[in-house]
C-alpha cells in the first residue's frame, strides 16, 4: 500500500517548462509570488491568470493535477472568501438581510483574495509538478552557494536533503514491513481513541528508529568508501545551462511584473 507513493508530486515530462533550468524556475517562482502579492485591479489579475494559463499549457500538465493540489487548502480559500464577503464594509450594498449586509466592495475583495490564494498554490504546484525534487535540491545548492562565504553549510544541507529524499521510500517500505510483522503478532493500529492509537505506534517507531540509525551508519561507511569528503573540490556530473527558453521565460515574467507594478502604481 505504501509502495506506490510518489516523491513530492513531480510529474515526469519533457515539455519546455520541464526543461527550463531549475535555478531559473526557482527565481521566476519567487518573482511570481511577488507578483501575486503586488497584484491589484482587474487588469493585473487578467495578466496573472494569462501567465499561469500559458505556463500550464506549455507544461502539458493537466489542469486536473493543478486543481488536485489546491484541494487540501480549499477550505481555507472558501473560509477567506466568506470572511471577506461578510465583514468588508463599503458604500454599495447589494444584499441587506437583518444584520447580514453584503457590499459590492466585499464581493470584489473576496473574489480577488481567493483568486490570489488559488494563484499562489497553482503556481507553486506547477513548479513542483514540473521539477524533480532532486533538481530542486540541486538548484537550491547552486543558488545558495554565495552563502558559503558566511560559513553557511550549503553543500551539507543539500546532501542531507538528497539523502532524505532517497530514503523516504525505503523507510516507508520498512514501516510497512514492521507494521505487518506487528499486526501478525496481534498489534492493533486501527482501533481505540487517539491516545491508544498513539501508544500502539511505539512498537512501530522503536524498530524504525533503530533501523534508521543502523542504515545511517552503513550509508556513512559506503559514502566514505566512495571518497566522500564534503563539498570541497567536488564536481557535478550534470552541468546546468541557461538556454534560450530560459531567456524567454525571464522576459515574459519581467513583462508581466512590469504590467502589474504599473497598474498598482497608477491606481
Amino acid at each position: 500500500m505504501l509502495k506506490d507513493i510518489t516523491l513530492g508530486q513531480y510529474y515526469p515530462g519533457d515539455s519546455v517548462v520541464h526543461r527550463l533550468d531549475p535555478r531559473v524556475k526557482m527565481i521566476l517562482m519567487i518573482v511570481y509570488i511577488v507578483m501575486v502579492f503586488l497584484v491589484q485591479g482587474f487588469l493585473g489579475y487578467v495578466c496573472l491568470a494569462a501567465f499561469l494559463a500559458a505556463a500550464t499549457l506549455l507544461s502539458h500538465i493537466r489542469v486536473k493535477f493543478l486543481l488536485r493540489s489546491i484541494r487540501p487548502v480549499l477550505f481555507i480559500v472558501v473560509f477567506t472568501f466568506l470572511l471577506n464577503i461578510l465583514f468588508t464594509r463599503g458604500e454599495h450594498p447589494i444584499v441587506e438581510w437583518g444584520i447580514l449586509r453584503i457590499y459590492w466592495e466585499g464581493v470584489r475583495f473576496a473574489v480577488f483574495m481567493s483568486l490570489r490564494l488559488v494563484f499562489l498554490l497553482a503556481g507553486t504546484s506547477l513548479l513542483t509538478l514540473t521539477t524533480s525534487p532532486m533538481a530542486l535540491t540541486d538548484a537550491l545548492e547552486r543558488l545558495l552557494k554565495p552563502l558559503n562565504a558566511v560559513h553557511f553549510p550549503v553543500h551539507e544541507m543539500a546532501m542531507m536533503m538528497t539523502i532524505a529524499l532517497r530514503f523516504i521510500p525505503t523507510l516507508l517500505e520498512e514501516t510497512d514491513k514492521i507494521m505487518k510483522a506487528q499486526t501478525a503478532r496481534g498489534a492493533d493500529f486501527d482501533t481505540g481513541n487517539l491516545l491508544q492509537r498513539a501508544k500502539a505506534m511505539v512498537p512501530l517507531l522503536v524498530p524504525l528508529f533503530v533501523g534508521a540509525f543502523r542504515r545511517a551508519d552503513e550509508l556513512a561507511m559506503a559514502m566514505e568508501a566512495r571518497c566522500y569528503h564534503g563539498g570541497r573540490h567536488r564536481t557535478r556530473m550534470k552541468v546546468l545551462h541557461v538556454g534560450r527558453a530560459d531567456g524567454w521565460a525571464c522576459c515574459v515574467t519581467a513583462a508581466t511584473l512590469v504590467l502589474i507594478a504599473l497598474e498598482r502604481a497608477l491606481l
Partner: protein, 290 residues
C-alpha cells in the same frame, strides 16, 4: 604476480565503552595479487567483514600494517587514492545508494574525486554498460530489484576505475535470481577486464569460483589455498571452523568412507554426476559392477 594489497600482521580491536575492546582480527597476514579472485570465508563473527574493511582503510589496523600499492592506509594524505584504487560493495543494497537517480549514484564517487563533468558522463555510461544497467540510468533506485541495486553499486565502484573490488557478502540479502545476476556480472568483469576481486562470502559455491580461498576463524586466517584443494583436503578442518564444505564435496567424502572411490574432487552436481558415471563405466568394463 604483483601484490596490490599487502596485510602484515594486522590486528583490529573494536573499541567498546564498557570494558576492554573486542579483538576482531588477530594477526592476519595476506596479500592480494593483481588479477586474482580471492574469497574469504568464515562463519559469523570470524572477523572476515572486519578484515575486508581494513583493506581500503575504512578501518585502520590497531597493530600491524596494511599497504595498498605504495600507500599505507594510515597515511591520511593518500586515503582517497587508496579508496579510489580499492572499490567496495556492501551487503545491504539499500544502504549504499546515495542518490535518487541511478546515474547520479554511479556518478557520486567521481564527483567526490573532482573529475570534470564531461569525463564523469562518459565513465558513468561505460560503467552502467559494463554491468548491463544502461537502460535503468534514469530510474529511481527504490524501484529496482535487489540484484539490480547491487549491480548499480558495482557500477558506482567501477566508474572510479579501481584495481581491486572488495565485496562484503554482496549476495547475502538477495534471492537466488539476484545472486546469480550479481555473481555473473562480477565473474564477467573479472574475466574480461582483469578486475581483482576480493569476495567475503558464506556461500561455498561462490568461494569455489575463486583462484584462492582464505578461511577465517576467531580473527585468524586458518586455511589458505586453491578452493578445490582446500575443500577436498581440509574438509574436517573447515567443519571444525563451523563452515560447510560444498554439498558435493561432502557427498564425495561420505561415498569414499563407504568404500566407493570417487575420482578427483567433484564440487558441483554436474561434476559429481560425471565422476559417478565414470566410476560406473569403469566397474562395468572390469566386469564386477554392483
Amino acid at each position: 604476480m604483483t601484490d596490490i594489497i599487502r596485510v602484515q600482521d594486522a590486528w583490529y580491536e573494536y573499541e567498546r565503552a564498557d570494558d576492554e575492546g573486542e579483538l576482531a582480527v588477530r594477526g592476519v597476514s595476506l596479500s592480494v595479487r593483481k588479477g586474482e579472485w580471492l574469497s574469504i570465508i568464515g562463519r559469523n563473527g570470524s572477523g572476515k567483514s572486519t578484515l575486508i574493511k581494513l583493506l581500503n582503510g575504512l578501518f585502520l589496523p590497531t597493530r600491524g600494517s596494511v599497504t595498498v600499492g605504495s600507500y599505507d592506509t594510515r597515511d591520511e594524505d593518500h586515503i582517497w587514492d587508496v579508496r579510489q584504487r580499492v572499490g567496495m560493495i556492501f551487503q545491504n543494497p539499500d544502504n549504499q545508494i546515495v542518490a535518487t537517480i541511478v546515474e547520479e549514484d554511479v556518478a557520486f564517487g567521481l564527483e567526490n574525486l573532482g573529475v570534470n563533468p564531461q569525463e564523469i558522463r562518459e565513465r558513468v555510461d561505460a560503467a552502467l554498460r559494463a554491468v548491463g544497467m544502461q537502460e535503468y540510468a534514469a530510474s529511481a533506485p527504490h524501484m529496482l530489484s535487489g540484484g539490480q541495486k547491487q549491480r548499480v553499486a558495482i557500477a558506482g565502484a567501477l566508474a572510479m576505475e579501481p584495481e581491486v573490488l572488495l565485496m562484503d557478502e554482496p549476495t547475502a540479502m538477495l534471492d537466488p535470481g539476484g545472486r546469480r545476476e550479481v555473481m555473473e556480472t562480477v565473474e564477467r568483469l573479472h574475466r574480461e577486464s582483469g578486475l581483482t576481486v576480493v569476495l567475503v562470502t558464506h556461500f561455498m559455491d561462490e568461494a569455489l569460483r575463486g583462484d584462492r580461498v582464505i578461511a577465517m576463524q576467531d580473527g585468524k586466517a586458518i586455511l589458505e589455498g586453491a578452493p578445490r584443494e582446500v575443500f577436498a583436503r581440509e574438509a574436517e578442518a573447515l567443519k571444525a571452523a563451523g563452515l560447510e564444505v560444498p554439498a558435493m564435496a561432502e557427498l564425495a567424502s561420505r561415498l569414499r568412507a563407504r568404500g566407493l572411490d570417487v575420482q578427483g574432487a567433484p564440487m558441483t552436481v554436474p561434476e559429481m554426476a560425471q565422476a559417478l558415471i565414470a566410476r560406473y563405466r569403469e566397474r562395468g568394463a572390469s566386469g564386477n559392477a554392483g
